[in-house]
Subunit: 564 residues, 2 copies
């Protein structure tokens, strides 16, 4: 077909021209006009020189480390120069992340998690100060950085830099490689805050020629010990649910590789491995390979030889020295420090592990679960990525094959073709604090959808992905249910004293127990009287320190008495 070859677009280097122009504008602010180093006093001016109205801007920050200095600086730019920004960032977690919108500097955000600022995000939305693009799981947001949400400017953070701009992140590499690669190679500009500039780095985490400007701040960036749980606050009911998970799921399916979500429920399991799982003879047979941040509550299991390998999304405050002393277990550089990497750890949590096990706040009659609460827009971080079956997985571990064989709805989906699947376990107490019902007819996510103008309710994990729900009443193997109706019955059977639980038909429940679709403590031969805190291998933070040989340093927040 005849179309003139010359009919098309003419300008192919607008991004590169823009890049050069902006870097030139930043150059006079560098220390001697030739290096990449900019004084922290000039940081706001640098942002004003580099960022233009309407830019797509990434601020680094995740559960742990935060480019908080740069976020603060972005709050202080002249709004007449820098405005209408479209933020693309893993988390909205610092007050400054909201202030950027409060002040009218940014107008739209695509993100993954905003737990600590969820009320503020909801308010900003209602006041039309913030538009929410979409809420993602982390790996999905990184993926869009390479497709349709590529940042024009990235504001990232590392521990130290050298004169050439090489970055050392220490244990907190986290999101940096994904953000920098997407930005730099689409002719975007990368600005890094670091604590200090040194002559020689202990290792290079990001090559210097990927970085345009470095700002030494003279202080460490903000880091949150988000994955730390004090064993003293684990309750007997956590122990009970943990025992059911270990005996009814980990042992039953031979779960060797897994990810644990955050919370007391999973912390309890970690502290039961050396005791209850050991009694069951499971050492070396379950929980050997992990994608997990360095949970302090995993220390005893590591010390006792339960664990072969842990790959980390990020680090955890206070765990640095312990991790450094266990290079056979963790991914550690020759400098002695952890190399974390959220993109790879999320990919591994999606594709390489047999089970995702986490807690939730609300589950509906179909097994859809969510931690979304009205008036809070929080997102779900990594949970959707790990709490789903990886449809592209083809390797066939014992656990994957066994649960696939048991999946009663599989034939209605793909005929007689056998296929395995991931175990996705959701733990929930039937009632939460103040007696709130956690197993419900309809998720609060429906209201939140309307409130936030989303196209579908923000579900954390969908019912067809969940293989097991565990409450204090029992364990429901949802994957064994042959229909949605049967799944509903199984959920009701373990819903206890909730409106949903009251709908359970005793005869149907008995039938489900008979068919091992529902298992109570009795069915699992677990004596609830055994389920108490004394079964935890460590019961205080101090005992965790002891298990670590003094290497674990309890973060300050956990040294004073905590409130719920």
């Amino acid at each position: 077909m005849s179309i003139p070859v010359t009919a098309g677009r003419k300008d192919w280097e607008s991004g590169r021209q823009e890049y050069k122009k902006r870097v030139e504008r930043g150059k006079p602010l560098t220390k001697n006009g030739s290096t990449k180093i900019v004084d922290s006093d000039n940081a706001v001016t640098l942002l004003e020189a580099i960022i233009q109205p309407g830019d797509r801007v990434a601020i680094e920050g995740n559960n742990q480390k935060q480019a908080d200095f740069l976020a603060d600086c972005l709050c202080r730019v002249d709004k007449s120069k820098v405005n209408k920004l479209h933020m693309v960032q893993s988390v909205i977690s610092r007050p400054s992340h909201c202030e950027i919108f409060e002040r009218g500097i940014a107008e739209k955000v695509d993100f993954s998690f905003s737990g600590p600022q969820s009320t503020q995000v909801s308010r900003l939305l209602q006041e039309s100060k913030m538009q929410v693009g979409e809420i993602h799981t982390y790996l999905e947001l990184f993926s869009r950085y390479f497709v349709d949400l590529t940042p024009r400017v990235a504001l990232v953070v590392a521990a130290r830099a050298d004169q050439d701009g090489n970055l050392y992140t220490g244990p907190n590499t986290e999101d940096t490689p994904a953000i920098v690669e997407a930005t730099h190679f689409k002719q975007g500009i990368v600005i890094a805050e670091v604590e200090s500039i040194v002559d020689k780095l202990p290792r290079v985490d990001i090559p210097g020629d990927w970085i345009d400007f470095i700002i030494p701040t003279g202080k460490p960036c903000y880091i949150e010990p988000l994955f730390t749980r004090d064993p003293s606050r684990i309750r007997d009911v956590n122990v009970l649910i943990g025992m059911m998970v270990i005996k009814g799921i980990y042992r039953e399916y031979g779960v060797r590789s897994l990810n644990h979500g955050i919370g007391y429920a999973t912390a309890a399991i970690e502290l039961l491995l050396p005791t209850y799982a050991q009694q069951l003879g499971l050492r070396g047979k379950i929980c050997t390979h992990w994608t997990l941040n360095p949970h302090p509550t995993l220390i005893p299991a590591i010390e006792l030889g339960f664990v072969d390998s842990v790959h980390c999304f990020g680090s955890e405050v206070g765990m640095e020295e312990y991790v450094a002393a266990r290079p056979d277990i963790f991914f550690v550089g020759p400098d002695g420090n952890l190399r974390s990497n959220r993109a790879f750890s999320q990919a591994a949590g999606h594709y390489a592990v047999d089970a995702f096990v986490g807690a939730t706040l609300q589950i509906d009659r179909y097994g859809n679960s969510s931690t979304a609460v009205v008036n809070r827009i929080a997102g779900f971080g990594g949970a959707p990525n790990m709490g789903c079956d990886a449809g592209g997985r083809r390797h066939s571990s014992e656990a994957w094959v066994k649960i696939g064989k048991e999946s009663a709805m599989m034939p209605s989906l793909i005929g007689d073709m056998p296929r395995g699947r991931k175990l996705v376990v959701q733990m929930v107490e039937t009632r939460g604090p103040q007696g709130i019902q956690c197993l419900v007819d309809k998720l609060d996510a429906w209201d939140l959808m309307k409130q936030a103008g989303l196209k579908v309710p923000p579900v954390m994990i969908y019912g067809d992905a969940v293989t097991q729900i565990v409450t204090e009443v029992g364990l429901a193997h949802l994957h064994k249910c042959a229909s949605l109706q049967e799944r509903e019955a199984a959920i009701k059977a373990i819903a206890g004293d909730t409106d949903l639980g009251k709908q359970a038909d005793p005869a149907e429940t008995a039938d489900l127990r008979q068919r091992k679709i529902v298992q109570t403590c009795e069915d699992l031969e677990i004596d609830p009287r055994d389920a108490n805190r004394s079964l935890l291998v460590a019961q205080t933070m101090d005992e965790l320190v002891e298990w670590s040989g003094g290497r674990y340093k309890v973060p300050e927040q956990f040294r004073k008495p905590q409130k719920e």
Copy 2:
């Protein structure tokens, strides 16, 4: 519970000790005893010094670039020193990859794709010279590098290195970052072959301190132009199917972001964008954002302004100069060359695009599809990862929401909860070369499972993930089917003159057409007489070169007459 804190494992640095010991053994082979550079004459000796029996070893290689020098060297090690290796590698594609097994140096392999050596792999398996661990999709194999298949030694390839060991990959970065990161940070040893050592690299793709030894080979590594399709070999039937895809799917769902599989079917679509899609007024409305290797057949669409962005898994031989001249479209470094990255592009192909569109060889009555053929063990590369719904996806593009709403089986899976999904399109002619039936009752994958000792048949894409099948007879929207039985009927309706097609019930087919579950050309208002090669915007390799302004260099294989 009382367990002595001192009861556990004692040795935590065995990997690090091993690393140090082996690197020391390699040091005398470096040029002056202190650098990382080893003469290519000493490469075999280096491998014998570094690799030990039973090691897990990664050889880099993918569709495109190959660490072929190191693979050849591994064939030549003394088998009494190096044996029982467990290879973990993306592809088995070079004769040397098989020879390592033929000679008894390696005994087990975990991989993703082995198309070019599929007959050899099958033979080695039957002769018990090779054990196949598992067959993966690429991102899944990378994921396992961080969990339970971490390499002890990695043999990788780059274009150039500097004295410090920094690597420059040029456009073919591909798998290198994933392999090196997993190996280096779990105290493994990384050996890189490069064409040459230079004083200053155009850019750093891999930091030098992640690399232990560099071997300059004096010649470029082997690179295969795997994604090149000569437009002159596209047939009218490809054009017909392409028109149905563009009108019946891309337009209907507003597919903006996508990945195309390899082959003439997708090449036809790419060459129809500037003509047929343009006539339909679709420029800027479809196919704007891609995860795709630099397909030469996409050049005209790029030139005419159809395409906003392309992120690449790898490069493509001959496309280097063209890509370098289009930095607004491709991810390109300041050195002017593409930065590809298979891990990120696969993540993006999984999570960030609305559609995966590819061809297959065989589809069964349930919609399960496979390219597996008896006596060939080939794997599927990236297809399973992209050809499945991403269960963790939460962002709601128009295409994702629309096809989710139409998905008739969704309510039986998650109740009244709305959810979107990815479009997964499989194109197949009802009969292949020599009249072989491509729509079948049972996949050959079943036989292959037995032959290769797999636990489940090697399915490329499962029927419940496929949203549309397109044959020359018509388009079946499988996602609109409310049951497996209805899906079977829809597949039979477009199965033409095959045994499966003959089972189609004319009344049921009419009903499916009425309900727009099945659409023929007539239903789509496509005149088959229009469907001929003259509609392709470029019909020869020379015309692609012309569209590229002379920047595309036709690879040698495509300059001589080709055979099918």
